[in-house]
């Protein structure tokens, strides 16, 4: 996906896993992964895939990987377990598609090219295929891993709602995670490292490649948010001569420099242009698409920094729908748009979520509530080399906690509103049940033959019964509200997935006025409103939220005389 976003291509990812064979001890599979990214230039292909630490860049931006190890590691794992080469096809959208058959020379960390072919890329210009296909063989056990694999793909789909992800498993089962948006988050800009966030190794790499001849230029050109003035002031404070050639620095001087950089407080904080958060809209779309919740709230916090590394926290909270109900609040963790699916309980996110008193937010055990935490940073504070769990960085943890609190408050509001609706409906049911009885027994008591009509006290009318919405607003039958001082409207969306838009109108004189402005009811949700004012009639209008997506609603209007 990192190969598509920067060039504005909507990612299409195709993954196929097939079982090649199995014996008593092992199963071998063929894994084929295809993307529609920018492709790898032909001359770089062997190195990109067949050599570790291919990248020599020191500049920073948010990326899914850290060192580009993931792909090569997989190839190496395949080679170790099956001793078979990897096949790579790639095109950058030119007239050629290049194919390599590669193995890795592990001792010398060099690719071994077994075969190289050039294919013609048919079609013309923009219609030409671009992207990369990697096919390798590996040992494993899909039976054991399948639930994690599917969970990983589903969560990937949550934070990449603009991607199509297709997976075919060894049994031929077809999984498709379809995009629901066509918008791509703003790609990150590459920036120089912030002086607070560099280590000795990085400084050495910068020194090797820099063109600066003195320390002042060195500071100005190679570090994030360091200008002429800041460079001068820092060097003065660090007692380093401005004219010293960086390439002449002795190793112990480099160590001192790094320490001074970390300690100096005059640097401007890093900005977040090197980050690429999803944004609230895309995160919401991802959650809606994969969890289909009844309610979702999202929050993107403002950029912040820890140890010189910029970061952004994005949080979503989802309730109901397909969110599973567990004893405790469900947690989904993401770092730079990658799901973290292992070792949840060791993660600082887990600790934060557990530390919250959820009852304060009307959340009880066994309620279907999920919290999604997405951390974007140029350096994710992983606790271990396995890159599965986040460590506790005070600044990051604080942002996470505050963001969760914000969305949890919204959930609390939603839940209390839902509870209110439930109570109100029950309230009206009590009227409907007991008023006729009171009338009946009173009549019996008073020796009156016919019990009095209770309509003047309370009347409930179904104005929409299992009504299928259309693309245009349809009016319900009107409710005669002249007798009642209080009129209540209750509308329930009974469709299993589609949303509906509704509004409520009231008749005063000969004018229909809007009493409840157009609002959207998501699947399974209800609204309950008390109308203020005197109206002759009240009616409900409903239509489908999205064209050609029918909704199903039920609406009641109740009148109470006092």
């Amino acid at each position: 996906m990192d190969a598509t976003e920067p060039v504005g291509i909507l990612p299409d990812i195709y993954i196929r896993l097939t079982l090649d064979g199995q014996n008593e001890t092992a199963e071998t599979y063929t894994l084929r992964v295809m993307d529609n990214g920018s492709g790898i230039p032909a001359h770089q292909m062997p190195l990109a895939l067949g050599q570790f630490l291919f990248s020599s860049k020191y500049k920073l931006k948010q990326a899914r990987g850290t060192f580009g190890l993931g792909g090569t590691m997989t190839i190496l794992y395949g080679q170790i377990t099956t001793n078979k080469p990897v096949m790579v096809f790639s095109s950058t959208g030119t007239s050629r598609i290049v194919e390599y058959r590669l193995m890795i020379d592990i001792e010398r960390n060099k690719p071994i090219i077994l075969d190289r072919k050039i294919h013609v890329n048919p079609l013309k210009d923009k219609e030409r295929w671009h992207g990369t296909i990697v096919e390798l063989h590996l040992e494993g056990s899909y039976g054991q891993a399948s639930s994690k694999v599917l969970e990983y793909l589903k969560q990937t789909a949550i934070v990449n709602p603009y991607a199509n992800i297709t997976f075919i498993d060894p049994k031929g089962r077809f999984y498709k995670f379809e995009r629901t948006v066509t918008e791509i988050p703003r790609p990150p800009k590459e920036t120089e490292p912030h002086p607070h966030g560099v280590d000795v190794e990085t400084i050495q790499r910068i020194i090797r490649s820099t063109k600066a001849r003195n320390m002042r230029d060195f500071m100005k050109k190679n570090f994030h948010r360091v200008g002429d003035k800041t460079a001068k002031e820092f060097l003065k404070a660090a007692e380093i001569q401005e004219k010293v050639n960086p390439k002449r620095l002795r190793p112990e001087e480099i160590v001192t420099l790094v320490q001074k950089m970390k300690d100096y407080e005059g640097f401007l904080p890093p900005n977040a242009s090197c980050l690429s958060p999803l944004g609230e809209e895309l995160l919401r779309a991802g959650v809606l698409k994969e969890l289909e919740p009844e309610f979702v709230a999202v929050r993107r916090r403002n950029p912040s920094t820890y140890l010189g590394h910029p970061f952004i926290v994005e949080i979503a909270i989802a309730y109901g729908g397909k969110v599973p109900a567990k004893d405790e609040v469900l947690l989904y963790r993401f770092a730079n748009k990658i799901p973290l699916v292992y070792d949840e309980s060791g993660d600082v996110c887990w600790r934060i979520v557990r530390s919250i008193n959820w009852r304060r937010y009307n959340v009880a055990p066994n309620m279907p509530v999920a919290v999604l935490i997405h951390l974007c940073s140029t350096k994710i504070p992983y606790k271990t080399v396995g890159k599965e769990i986040l460590s506790d960085q005070a600044e990051v943890s604080k942002e996470i906690l505050n963001a969760i609190r914000e969305v949890a408050r919204e959930l609390a509001l939603y839940l209390s509103r839902k509870e209110r609706v439930r109570r109100q409906v029950r309230r009206l049911n009590v009227f409907a049940r007991y008023l006729p009885k009171i009338a009946q027994f009173s009549a019996g008591l008073g020796g009156i033959e016919k019990p009095p009509e209770t309509d003047r006290l309370y009347r409930s009318q179904v104005v929409f019964k299992d009504f299928v919405t259309k693309d245009e607003f349809t009016e319900s039958e009107p409710f005669d509200s002249r007798l009642y001082r209080t009129v209540l409207v209750h509308i329930a969306n009974k469709h299993e997935s589609n949303a509906v838009n509704v509004k409520v109108l009231g008749l005063t004189g000969s004018q229909w006025t809007e009493l409840i402005p157009e609002s959207t009811l998501t699947s399974g949700s209800e609204m309950y409103e008390t109308l203020r004012g005197n109206f002759k009639q009240v009616k409900v209008l409903a239509k489908s939220s999205k064209p050609e997506k029918e909704g199903l609603i039920e609406a009641y209007v109740d009148g109470v005389s006092e």
Binding site: R427, L435, G444, L445, G446, I448, P452, R456, L483
Partner: protein, 363 residues
């Protein structure tokens, strides 16, 4: 109140309650037709509205009222239940049938206004008592517990099928059950000049066997522990209509004492009702001082007994000299005994010695 008036009121009372209930129904119907949520007002029975009235010598309710309206959602169910109970009571009166608290609880289920438990239905019945300001017996709902009466009293039935039939309450040696029929009967004549109320069944039987009713010109009443309301009402009628003096014999402990007190001055639970008390009745024993004077076998008071005595000490109904004297005596002695304790000195000791002495002492 003259004797005639009392008699008349007994007969007419149910007619009045029946009318009250009908008017309640008419009022509700009218309100519903006008679009007004039906409501009733009654005196509050919360503890802060219960006061002791030295004038009536019983607990009464203050001026605070509560309004039950069908408009209030939390009142709606109890309101419907109360209207049903009124309707049911009216049916009972009209058909001249009777029911019990337990019976009412089950009957409600046939009308889809079911009570959760009997406590709920009992409470609704008490509400209705407050609304019509009459005890439930006046709308033919009687308690389950039954006590008995024995003695020379001729009564005339008013219940259906027995109208104008007469019977003498000395005709059956086990006593006659004080049930709805007896409660509603009219008193014709008696040779007795007093009523002796006894807490314990064994003593009641002993008194009958020893012909106390003849020897002491008395009507004997067995309460079976705390006297049911219909029995309290019956005792009151004997006192008010026939002018008989009333003596109560119960165990010598705070609980026995209180059985006598409830007959005399009523309970806080019935503060909304009148005519259940017999203020002129006398607690005749067994007193704490009797334990010493008659050398009765006794037991130690336990902690709960002592605690109860402390409560009674401050209870406004216990202001009289006799009460305070006996409470202090209990506390000092730390002893209690039962009515049966007299049997220590022979089966007839209580009738031969204790009873005449005590009646003489009380005048």
């Amino acid at each position: 109140m003259s004797k005639e008036d009392v008699k008349k009121s007994v007969v007419e009372k149910k007619g009045i309650v029946q009318k009250d209930l009908e008017m309640l129904g008419t009022k509700f119907c009218k309100e519903i037709g006008q679009g007004v949520f039906p409501w009733v007002e009654m005196k509050s029975r919360s503890t802060d509205n219960i006061f002791y009235s030295p004038e009536f010598r019983q607990y009464v309710l203050g001026d605070k009222t509560v309004r039950r309206s069908a408009r209030v959602i939390s009142h709606l169910r109890p309101f419907a239940q109360m209207v049903w109970t009124a309707y049911f009571a009216h049916e009972l009166l009209q058909q001249r049938k009777t029911s019990t608290l337990r019976d009412v609880y089950y009957s409600a289920q046939a009308y889809d206004v079911a009570f959760q438990d009997q406590a709920e239905s009992d409470n609704i019945i008490t509400d209705l008592e407050s609304v019509v300001e009459s005890p439930r017996e006046s709308f033919n709902v009687y308690p389950e517990e039954r006590s008995a009466v024995f003695g020379d009293l001729t009564i005339q039935y008013t219940v259906p099928g027995y109208e104008n039939r007469r019977t003498n309450l000395a005709s059956h040696p086990d006593g006659m059950m004080i049930g709805p029929a007896l409660t509603e009967s009219q008193f014709v004549e008696t040779s007795a000049d007093k009523v002796i109320v006894i807490e314990k069944g064994a003593m009641f039987t002993r008194f009958v066997e020893e012909r106390v009713h003849e020897k002491f010109n008395s009507i004997l009443i067995y309460t079976a522990g705390q006297a049911p309301r219909s029995t309290r009402y019956f005792i009151r009628r004997l006192n008010q209509e026939l002018g008989l003096s009333t003596y109560i014999f119960s165990d010598a402990d705070p609980w026995g004492m209180h059985i006598a007190m409830v007959i005399i001055s009523g309970s806080a639970n019935a503060a909304h009702l009148r005519e259940l008390t017999t203020p002129d009745a006398k607690w005749a024993g067994v007193w704490a001082t009797d334990i010493v004077n008659y050398k009765l076998p006794s037991e130690q008071l336990n902690e709960i007994d002592v605690k109860r005595l402390k409560e009674l000490k401050d209870d406004p109904r216990y202001t009289g000299g006799l009460w305070q004297r006996e409470i202090d005596a209990f506390v000092e002695l730390r002893k209690k005994c039962e009515l049966e304790a007299f049997s220590r000195y022979g089966l007839t000791h209580i009738v031969d010695k204790y009873l005449p002495e005590r009646l003489k002492e009380l005048g």
